[in-house]
Symmetry: C3
Subunit: 446 residues, 3 copies
Amino acid sequence: MTRGIARDLYQRVAEAPIISPHGHVPIDWLANDTPFADPAALFVTHDHYVTRLLHASGVSFDDLGLGQGASDPREVWRLLASNWHLFAGTSSGYWLEEELDDLGVAAELCADTADETYDAIAMKLALPEWRPRSLFERFGIDVLATTDDPLDDLAQHVAVADALAGRVLATFRPDRYLDPDAPAFAENVERLLGEAAFPSTFVGYLAALADRRRHFIRHGAVSADHGVEEPLTIDLESARAEQLFQSVLRGRASSEEKRLFRGHMLFQMARMSVEDGLVMTVHAGVLRNHSTSTLRTYGPDTGHDIPVPVDFTRGLRPLLEAFGLAPGFHLVLFGIDESVYSRELAPLAGFYPSVYIGAPWWFLDAPDSIGRFRSATTETAGFSRGSGFIDDTRAFLSIPARHDMARRADSAFLARLVVEGRIRAQQAERIADDLVGPLPRRVFKL
Amino acid sequence: MTRGIARDLYQRVAEAPIISPHGHVPIDWLANDTPFADPAALFVTHDHYVTRLLHASGVSFDDLGLGQGASDPREVWRLLASNWHLFAGTSSGYWLEEELDDLGVAAELCADTADETYDAIAMKLALPEWRPRSLFERFGIDVLATTDDPLDDLAQHVAVADALAGRVLATFRPDRYLDPDAPAFAENVERLLGEAAFPSTFVGYLAALADRRRHFIRHGAVSADHGVEEPLTIDLESARAEQLFQSVLRGRASSEEKRLFRGHMLFQMARMSVEDGLVMTVHAGVLRNHSTSTLRTYGPDTGHDIPVPVDFTRGLRPLLEAFGLAPGFHLVLFGIDESVYSRELAPLAGFYPSVYIGAPWWFLDAPDSIGRFRSATTETAGFSRGSGFIDDTRAFLSIPARHDMARRADSAFLARLVVEGRIRAQQAERIADDLVGPLPRRVFKL
Amino acid sequence: MTRGIARDLYQRVAEAPIISPHGHVPIDWLANDTPFADPAALFVTHDHYVTRLLHASGVSFDDLGLGQGASDPREVWRLLASNWHLFAGTSSGYWLEEELDDLGVAAELCADTADETYDAIAMKLALPEWRPRSLFERFGIDVLATTDDPLDDLAQHVAVADALAGRVLATFRPDRYLDPDAPAFAENVERLLGEAAFPSTFVGYLAALADRRRHFIRHGAVSADHGVEEPLTIDLESARAEQLFQSVLRGRASSEEKRLFRGHMLFQMARMSVEDGLVMTVHAGVLRNHSTSTLRTYGPDTGHDIPVPVDFTRGLRPLLEAFGLAPGFHLVLFGIDESVYSRELAPLAGFYPSVYIGAPWWFLDAPDSIGRFRSATTETAGFSRGSGFIDDTRAFLSIPARHDMARRADSAFLARLVVEGRIRAQQAERIADDLVGPLPRRVFKL
């Protein structure tokens, strides 16, 4: 009975256009409409969800094409195929099977089918209908947000705007200009200031950031995204902020001073969002690059970003005291620490008009995890205080599979509430409809 | 099959008398048998579960009648009705629908039905059978605990005792006399000491508290309740305690000293409970009044008390080292941090004869949350180490709906265990019976 | 439908040999093949899962035979029988019912059946087929690991090796030689150094530990186990380590220095595991002996070890930076803080080839808990990064019941994934087969 209702709910929304207000698809794929290189590059080498689990199972990153040396894509694919059993039950496994199905690949991945599947995919990728722009249309993407450097001129976004029916939005992501521990922080800030000859003061620095935000807004951006290990916010007096700015710029700041600076800058970003209207999204609680030797050899985003506990209630209090009730301010909070769902996120979003609960993120973007998220947040905050689904992905081909999985998971959750007599079927239908379109449009001001 | 067994279990207990050993119904409602004012005052304005979610969705507290100015109750009701979709899937939504059903209101709340439902409810509330005492009898309330100030003379409780078949118990709640950060702390302590001319020393202060506890006990109280942000307990030497007492009274204590004082007073409250037999309940882990500007404008209890992580294992250790094995001592622990269920609460209650696991509280008083609570605690501590359901509510009309929901949720959990072959049907029946009556009577010494 | 698939999966693995790579069965039971004393000693007095819940319910440890004085086993059994209802829904209840069933005891435990069940069990225990070695064979145990003191000569393991078809492996457990707060730490270290006249320096101490590990390896051990309250690891310079070693040995170290020493020794144990190949298992996050008065009167392991939150991500980082990618290194992480499943354990094990997610441990070794564990880890790390089931028990007779319960729980989880279309039936079968044999053999190098 539950499954029947779930199926009906899912079918209402299965074909709804895709709204993807936060993700990591490189804009040049769409700007240049470049064909995807080969099955390995597309599905393995650049997908750290996939490479990390192969790595955990003893496959070297060099053999997967992440190293300096050349690697044969067919060999990389064979490594995936022969280790495919590792992905049973994982979200990566689910997505990839959906994508292969979409590519017309029916064979189960294993050592024996590696070559035939490789060839079948490679053949498809050479066809015009498998180039990014065609896929964008076929996937029914209505809105797709990229994630961009504040100094990006966004010319590619302009070029793309005319070429596609759906919207492609830039997202302002200033982490490397805000975190004194980021590589080349001082150089980046100097470039930022140099852009329009802003003075090398904290006031100049804030003005330069505000200026770049305006640039993004002029080019259609609706949100600014912030990745932080700790969701700490601090309101510092301007003299102290100026002093800290000079210290971090000169590399003289202590760890604690750098922490204060980061906390103050998150606070300042909220202030700017209140002023210029960009939706503020915070992805918190991940310790990046846990394995230093892996970072050195293979770079960042290679599968060893590991979550830590977060404290939104106390960490965000200064921000929310100052801006939590500001009209029009939208703050979407993402975390991987599930203990905050019922303890912090639902209560915060159930009071502050500005706060929205971010959809299950990263490791939690999966059917059971989505079920736990709904169970832990709905009884306190209902459905309207969530962000709607966000795929957060660089893996372009996985976008439909990800949205599809979320739609199925939400339909299953709603169906259970109907069967348990907690909502009526008609309510479930309205909510299902809302979640895939109107809700994310409201939250992201689309 | 599970649903059938759950239904049978539920029907055994559906009509059992209500034991409500912890709640916030104002005693004067029962003492004066005042008719409820109007639908808005009854269901909206004073229910921070309801107002907070409307607030989060952009409805102002002024428009809901929380501000200084007058508000038209019908307009307030219209705001609820037109935003009723926000409550789908929430516990507040469930309770309110049950209450409306009880009031004979069949129409679904929405903008179109706002006026007719308002009128229908208002008409009912004017009838004698909808006054508090009649409802008390009709609800089948056997025991109802209020929460009271230590200096309350409890005269209203005496008056009520003769007027009702069930018992109405006062509860000793001394937070404002124990927490140096509470508003008017020093004045309150002076009033407490002045009551019977106790000396302004730590010893006098303890004697005054013990004296008021005796007053409560003489008037039938069975428990003392403590709301703390951090469940910290500390056993200080008497000289240090005296010194701290003088500091906090004079407003000279540092944050850390105030913290120590609070921790020592929670310890002292346990000592007194061991001596005088009052059941000690601790509600821990909520940061009160997160939004200072909301507190200033609308007062406390306006929906922005936000949970934080708790550490019962280490925080309560001094208390449990001293009193955990004391005969007759009962300590009921409530938290909103679900991560403590299996990690701390079930193991503590599975060893210390004094410790009971408080029923899911506040944001967690809801069907899925109750299911998670049972799942996380039962395998370690069984059913006998829980407190039994506690409604913790000020919303008098919601009492039956809340107990009903808990009974349904527990029946569903037990039914699943039966179907999975983990308990026999007869055991499930005995447990279901125990949970709604004998268990809370044992835990709360009723 | 789910239940049918679960049953089929379970039946595939129900009779598979038992691999128990971590547990606490005393080797002398098998070395001497001593008959079990009586039903009370076997099922009650020495099982702290059982005694703790009776204790929580007001039964004294003296009456259960834990005190100094003599106790009549029949009286102890009567206490269990008359309180048997407390165990409904607990894992202890499940295991004991399975064991009684295996003993042919059909009557439900209660005051009325206490004597007849006692007699029935006692009669069985006197039979040769209920002695440890016969049971070992009948249970189908293929591998059983004990937990042993580093100075144990392991002669009993040698004796047992020839007497049983299955393997009995010693496990190196050095906690009391590594933790300056352990009772008699300095004396233990002196004995360790004295064993082969190692110098009383940090270098000598490390050499002595490495020497005892070699002794264990020569006698067939495959793993070293570490129980810590906090999973902290620190890489100290050798001069600092030497200095700390001298301080802790002389009892002059501060709490913080002892903490550093423990953290450095956990780091050193990983280094040795990398060198000598012993699988490193870490059981973290339990505050031992919460009730000091109980410890003094009844000793350790009496039911008041209470979990605390753990931080694997930051605590283990130094260890993983140094050894996480070392070939052949296996590190199995156990915790009772469920919040780390999706937040830390699955992401760590999904990247580091050395890290395996330990099966749900202690309070979490139960059907619902296993379900939550699978739900929280599988979507990120699949099935291959878990340790396989570990019974961790001293209760010899409960071994089959524990493995059986885990097999049922895993079958139920897999069946749900099949029904939800997330894995195919054939994959579920392969995974079910892998979990009970090949997987733990790979993880524990058997």
